[in-house]
């Protein structure tokens, strides 16, 4: 066997074994999408990968059953606002913690990180009382503020801080000599060089907001304020039993933005690694 052949066989083995490993991950997804096109009866009938009859009506009923379009929009705009705010706040705070020397800056980082150890379930009740006292229950404000300034924001800040600390200090000195202010250095030097970190933060923040369940459950009560995770559990018959065909059709729809975000952010990460090439 030549070296090339060996490499080929190795490759084929890899592809086969990875495909096998992928089945448990891919199969439920396929099942979900295909069941979204089935009738409730067919879902529980003879198992099949593709529906016998494609019921496109499911996707119309999803929108008729409850204000699903509105709920979908809620989720999108909340996730976008949270992501945007988190990027701004975490990169500003991360930059300050990485580069500005002030009394207790390290202590502050330790303090923030230690707050991560408190589970959300513990803080949700005091948070609820706080939000109610502010009169913000059944609004989207807590769904935006809590992730930005809560544990998610801390994780994002920490990520950004670590990334900023690794950027060459000389670049910022050069920026200072070129006449940039602190904010200018952050905006025109540190941020453009941090695209991989920003993209990573954007992904995890968007996903976290998109999947947020406990907070909407606790804070929201009116149907048209619901976000997707709440709405998805709401496709039930009058006896509270799930309407599987609608639920699965709606869930399939809910996955679309996640895929889009992944594709965009991943390209950002790859591109910016090639782009910045931060070296001497």
């Amino acid at each position: 066997m030549t070296y090339r052949q060996q490499q080929r066989i190795k490759r084929i083995c890899w592809v086969i074994s990875l495909s096998i490993v992928a089945i448990p991950f891919v199969f439920p997804f396929l099942w979900m999408v295909s069941s979204g096109f089935k009738s409730a009866n067919e879902i529980f009938g003879q198992p099949s990968l593709l529906p016998d009859v494609w019921r496109w009506r499911n996707f119309v009923e999803v929108f008729e059953y409850q204000p699903f379009a509105r709920q979908y929009f809620n989720s999108i705009y909340i996730a976008l606002v949270v992501t945007g705010l988190t990027l701004i706040v975490s990169s500003l705070a991360g930059y300050a913690l990485a580069r500005i020397r002030f009394a207790g800056s390290v202590l502050l980082v330790v303090f923030l990180l230690s707050a991560l150890m408190v589970p959300e379930e513990v803080t949700i009740i005091p948070n609820f009382f706080l939000i109610r006292w502010l009169g913000l229950t059944d609004t989207h404000v807590p769904l935006i503020l809590l992730p930005v300034f809560g544990p998610q924001g801390v994780v994002a800040t920490f990520l950004m801080r670590q990334y900023f600390m690794a950027l060459p200090k000389d670049l910022e000195d050069a920026g200072e000599l070129d006449g940039l202010s602190r904010i200018g250095i952050w905006w025109r030097i540190a941020l453009p060089l941090s695209r991989p970190a920003l993209a990573a933060v954007a992904i995890i923040t968007f996903l976290h907001s998109w999947n947020l369940f406990l907070e909407p459950l606790v804070f929201l009560s009116s149907l048209e304020k619901f976000t997707l995770p709440l709405a998805l559990g709401n496709f039930t018959d009058p006896y509270g039993m799930p309407l599987w065909h609608l639920q699965l059709a709606a869930t399939s729809l809910a996955v679309v933005p996640v895929i889009i975000v992944y594709v965009i952010a991943q390209r950002q990460i790859v591109e910016s690694f090639a782009m910045t090439g931060v070296k001497g």
Binding site: P168, D170, D173, E176, L177, L180, G184, T276, G277
Partner: protein, 351 residues
């Protein structure tokens, strides 16, 4: 353009004193080189001058202007970093024009000035490229170009050539010298390369441990070092310094020996003779052939190892007994504190 005056400048990092009272007068248009051992505070002093570090005490004047509290960008200085510090996300043209853009100069003017600087540095063909697409030498030229474009009163260089290979370093050294000739700006240059310091400088400032040991022209420092430290620091290979008492030949060299504790002889001033002819003798323990000549390590009984530069193709062999001699005016005498004693024998060339 302007000169620079440092008046008892000090710099502390927390409790650690790094610059311990530096007085220096740099004339307008001078090329001044800071040299000194690693960690002596060269970079720190440069950064204090640039304004990137706050000064802890004393006065810094650029021209007549007291700049202690003036921010870096307003001091009229430009800095070239060892790491080049080019913005990776900007093209060469954007890199060079960045400072002007920040200062809101008109785009048309920026373009003209960048083109001018690029022409000076032969960078016209690279303006559209990103720094990662350039060689080390080209990046260094861009970094210098960026400094030129901002039209500073004073250029500051922090070991700008130390990331380049030997050949390119020689070439860039010549370019920097030519640049200084053409622009005539004051330039302050940090290096620990002897040759760079000697060839480029109008005046060399020797720093040790946050203080100035001596300031002078390369010639002065070479022939009239103030003390043992400077004598050994300037010149390569470094000067042989031995206890006067250990070398009986010292008395033969003549001159006033009162108070002389040690004597120094440069490797290039020692000449190899027959064992019987020299002022003193020793055994060659190592002979390093360098092409133009050889560097001999000579064991002199009682005094230790002497470095000797022997010119020409002939070289004493390892293990050979040789004699060494030196012209009396080339012998440096130092007192108990390491200070050089000017002597009647070595007045030649004194200014």
């Amino acid at each position: 353009m302007a000169g620079l005056t440092l008046n008892n400048v000090t710099k502390k990092f927390g409790a650690v004193s790094v610059i311990k009272g530096v007085d220096l007068e740099v004339n307008d248009g001078d090329f001044v080189v800071f040299v000194g051992p690693s960690g002596c505070g060269k970079s720190t002093l440069l950064r204090v001058i640039s304004g990137l570090e706050d000064v802890s005490g004393g006065e810094i004047r650029i021209g007549d202007r007291l700049v202690n509290d003036v921010q870096a960008a307003r001091r009229g200085v430009a800095m070239v970093f060892q790491s080049y510090a080019l913005y990776p996300h900007l093209t060469v043209e954007q890199n060079m024009g960045f400072g002007l853009k920040v200062r809101k100069v008109k785009p048309a003017d920026i373009k003209t000035r960048v083109r001018e600087a690029a022409a000076t540095l032969k960078l016209e063909d690279f303006l559209e490229r990103y720094p990662r697409e350039l060689s080390g030498g080209q990046r260094q030229r861009v970094a210098i170009g960026r400094a030129i474009v901002s039209d500073p009163a004073i250029f500051l260089f922090d070991e700008p050539l130390s990331n380049l290979d030997a050949e390119l370093r020689v070439h860039m050294r010549a370019e920097i010298a030519a640049l200084h000739q053409r622009l005539g700006n004051t330039m302050i240059y940090v290096t620990h390369d002897q040759i760079e310091a000697m060839t480029l400088a109008d005046r060399i400032v020797i720093l040790r441990d946050g203080q100035i040991e001596q300031v002078g022209s390369p010639r002065e420092l070479y022939s009239h070092p103030k003390n043992v430290f400077v004598a050994q620091f300037i010149g390569s290979p470094k000067m042989n310094v031995v206890e006067a008492a250990s070398l009986s030949a010292v008395s033969e060299i003549g001159g006033d020996l009162a108070g002389v504790v040690s004597v120094g002889m440069r490797p290039e001033h020692l000449t190899v003779t027959q064992p019987t002819d020299g002022l003193f003798r020793g055994r060659v323990s190592l002979s390093e052939y360098t092409g133009a000549g050889s560097l001999l390590h000579v064991e002199v009984p009682g005094s230790g190892t002497f470095l000797v530069l022997q010119n020409g193709p002939e070289a004493a062999e390892t293990g050979a007994e040789i004699g060494l001699s030196i012209e009396p005016e080339n012998v440096h005498r130092f007192d108990a504190n390491g200070l050089r004693i000017p002597s009647s024998n070595s007045l030649k060339g004194e200014t």
